[in-house]
């Protein structure tokens, strides 16, 4: 149970309990605000009945032609509200916006190859490992690029896994 609404600047002052989690990165202000200024529909927060921030999702839409897609930049849930499918709800919302408003072909995300719990969760949400990105995280750890096809990609071409891993400089977008 939650109220999911657009993320706003004041939420930056309220998300400490979520961001103090060691896996949740606290970006600089221009990062958050660029997302808010450019893709406000892709940045949502879930609030508890006591008005606490339970978690949030931030993302964007980018690409050209058949690679026009939604991208999940971060999705995170406070420890107190985990194991309640909140991340799923937030992901579904972003998928819905990518699908219905922006008519994207797929949604993708990057995850640390070592973050097994997260990978499992994304797989449950029907994301497949599309490719491995070598040493993506600070030149040390590999990332997995996971994708889920949307209704516009009727033949599900966007999620056919690549046979070989790629390096960060081969990526199409930052």
């Amino acid at each position: 149970m939650s109220t999911i609404r657009r993320f706003c600047c004041n939420d930056l002052l309220r998300f400490a309990s979520v961001n103090l989690d060691h896996l949740t990165e606290t970006f600089n202000m221009s990062f958050y605000m660029t997302y808010l200024a450019r893709w406000p529909d892709y940045f949502h927060v879930a609030e508890s009945p006591g008005n606490q921030v339970m978690g949030y999702i931030m993302g964007k839409v980018e690409g050209e032609g058949e690679s026009w897609h939604g991208h999940v930049t971060a999705v995170t849930v406070a420890p107190e509200y985990r194991r309640q499918q909140l991340a799923k709800k937030l992901m579904n919302l972003l998928e819905d916006i990518s699908d219905k408003i922006d008519k994207a072909y797929f949604v993708d995300l990057f995850v640390r190859a070592s973050n097994i719990p997260a990978i499992k969760m994304y797989e449950k949400l029907e994301y497949v490992i599309y490719r491995r990105v070598l040493r993506y995280y600070s030149g040390e750890e590999d990332a997995l690029d996971m994708r889920k096809a949307l209704s516009r990609d009727v033949e599900k071409k966007s999620v056919v896994p690549l046979k070989r891993p790629v390096t960060p400089d081969e990526l199409e977008y930052d």
Partner: protein, 1012 residues
Amino acid sequence: MASKYGYGGGIPERRVRPIWDAIDSRQFKNALKLTSTLVSKNPDIPYALALKGLILERMGKLDEAFSVCITAKEMLFSSSSILIDDLTLSTLQIVFQRLDHLDVATSCYEYACGKFPNNVELMMGLFNCYVREYSFVKQQQIAMKMYKIVGEERFLLWAVCSFQLQVFCGSGEDKLLLLAEGLLKKHIATHNLHEPEALSVYISLLEYQSKFGEALEILSGKLGSLIVIEVDKLRIQGRLLARAGDYVLAADIFQRVLELCPDDWECFQNYLSCLIGDGSNWSKGAQNNSIHLPNSGDCKNLHLTDEMFDSRISRASDFASKLAEKASSDSIRCPYLASLEIERRKLIYGRGDMDKLIEVMMQYFCRFGHLPCFASDVETFLEVLTGDKKNELLDKLVESCGAPVTAPKKLLGQSITIFKVRELIGDMFTVSATDIEGFAVQMADLYCKNLPLSKDLDIQESVHGEDLLSMACNILVQLFWRTNHIGYLLEAIMILEFGLTIRRHVSQYKILLLHLYSHWCALPLAYDWYKSLDVKNILLETVSHHILPQMLTYPLWNDLSDLLKDYLKFMDAHFRESADLTFLAYRHRNYSKVIEFVQFKERLQRSSQYLLAKIESPILHLKQNADSIEKEEGVLENLKCGTHFLELSSEIGSKSLTFNEDMQLRPWWTPTYDKNYLLGPFEGVSYYPRENMQFQIKQMEANTLKKIERRSLVPRMIYLSIQSAALSVKYNIEANGSLPEHQVPSELRILLERYANILGFSFHDAIEMVSDFPKGHSSSEVASPNLIEWMNFAVFFNAWSLNSHEKGASHRDINKTSSWQLVNSFLEKQIVEKFRSMRPLLSSPGSDLPVVVQMVTEPLAWHILVIQSCVRSSLPTGKKKKKGGASEQSNSQLSYEIRDSILSVYRIIEQVITWLKEQLQKPVDEGLDMILSSLVTKVPNEGPGRVFHVIETCVASLNDTELGDRIAGSLRCWHPADVGRKLISGQRTVLSELLKICESKIKSLQTLKLQI
């Protein structure tokens, strides 16, 4: 930067590209070389100069950069034949902005727009300049011009936003919104609207003017189709209807939203409010500025008959049941919580039954009691129960726990929930010490026994039952508060350190530990845990209150300096870039974000913590350099002799400051940063109920305002005191020209008066207060919370008296000479008394050591500066001395007073040093044995050590197969003695740092002694 390639000033791209490449790869020297060639070949093209300026700025050659760009600007202005393009202007703009000369950048664009009146690209640049300057009126004017030229929707919306900004963030009147509305209407009539954000701006304009009917009409008309997602539209509709007072229709709309999104809690609350006609949520001004909105429990009179109320409530109940039936999974809790909300509302309106609420709560518990968020879910509902009913509920919860549950994880979850409810209702503060100690033992036991459940978890995942250790810590700290037995405090630390050994990422434990170590004067450990939280960026604003207030009172100056620097750097960087991000929102047509960004920037600019850090940072510099008057004067010069802060202090009253700290994660014993229950006697449940929190926050806010106001006077008072002391030495006056002599005493007098007023006293009463202190007449209760301030007052008062001929200076029995004695004895009495009453840090947590640190590093340090100033001025400088009988006499009297004061201060510091050395000489092992022995239970089932014993048993009994490799491996690293050793070494670091400061002061006093 790649987008900047082009034909700036007509220079071909191929000539510019290598320069940008060099800039992008930070090869500035190379870039400068290439640009110099470019400038020499194109001496009359300003773009080349602008590039040079940009590179110089990057290289840190700020003056050169500015002068090169000014030349470029003059070139632009001087010749009509020169090509003016946006690339040149925007390059200049970047440099001028970085050099804090926004006005010059703006003037370039203004000139260009004047020269090419219909060039929209240049006008956009100018608009951007006005956005950077927050000139809303000019923004609006230029946007309107662009709109008139090209007729594009976006420019109209830029103008509309600028109108809104004038009203919301400037001094613009509401009627501007009417103007904006008219413009939009006209545009819609001819061009329609094409962007969803434009529609939402239009609706917000109408809504702000309470034109709900019109807004609704637009939403349901053709324009409404711009909002693609149905529920989004319905939510706006519901809100508008409710605000218009049409609750019946609004309730229907909210019902439709709930049918589509059954888990939308806010929507259910709106639905219920509308159904029973409670409009309190919708009245204007219902939104406040607080970060955490309290749940509204306002009891408004409803205009419903009992029958109507009952029938509406039963409609809501039916609907909630329907939603619950449809809810397919247990992750949808809203429909169930809805039943609780219905019962709560009934109670609020005097039509409820607590037993019914308890019954529904029990049903909710059976279904969701195992979830970690159960307690916070139901917190609001507990608040409407009486004390007896709360206890009745607790008994029922205990009874039903585990009944139909077989899964161990669920059982564990339910047990934790019951402990949490106990905490929430304040039960832990009313039962006996033995009972709560029993709970803590149970918690630790439950945690340990359930560790095998976490056997296969990834290190990233929380261990099952993590909350138990925090709750056990809460109890142990309370037991420490009740009994003053350090064993409990150590035990609290031990279990958290133990938990962090098992999984090192539990921020909740780290925060608790941070506060426990702070309380026990082991600030370096507290700071280490704080650092491990990786607090950065915006979290600096919301989380650093956990450590900053303590750091300000401790001698860990390098760490404090880093903390302040990082925080101020973050805030200032945001203020610099915020306008560019606002322009980004304009460009991407997300107009609602424009207003939001500007308001957010203002909110951060008015942050109380930001202001405090801005003042404390220079005060820290002053403290660090106080041993040398020359260095101190250097610092003061950089601070414009403290004048800037003076202005700030005067503005405080008129500013509404914001408090953005997130207090939610603070431990119960220190709910705000100026309150620590552990420093006073046990007050039991009196800190409950939680409504007190609002009051405490208000009090903290008022205290902070006063503190900022007071602290910002200090740099100037130090400066004036140094001046006054110098002037007092008659035969060697050498005014430095910054202030006419006679103004020093009068300004210092005004500031002393203000300082006294902030402390709640008149000038004369304040003098009386400090003069009575050494005689023991003053009530120490009056002074104790502001002891440092009183000591500062005495020091600055003495400095002022040296030069004042005013009557107040010889108030009562105080005269020029005796003000020295007054300050000597005041400082000596307070400082010596303080540390003499102090027991060793290890056996007495909550020590007054930070107060002693402040006394030595602030009032005492300022007083030494006054002495230094007198001594320096009395030294022969090679100039001919003025001779005169009377002044000779008064100066010899003065030098006697100064010598006396040096000796007095010397004595004080010597005594502090002796005490510190004594403390530091104590063997570490002795201390370690002492604290570890406090964990040995002397009486079975009583006293500290029982919880610790549970942990020790757990470590010894659980085996690797049960725990899995990871947890078992961590347990092998658990060494309680190391925790004790760390604690002792943390305290010793603090003592050593203070010792260093004192020794340096002694050195400077020795020099002074020789000089006089």
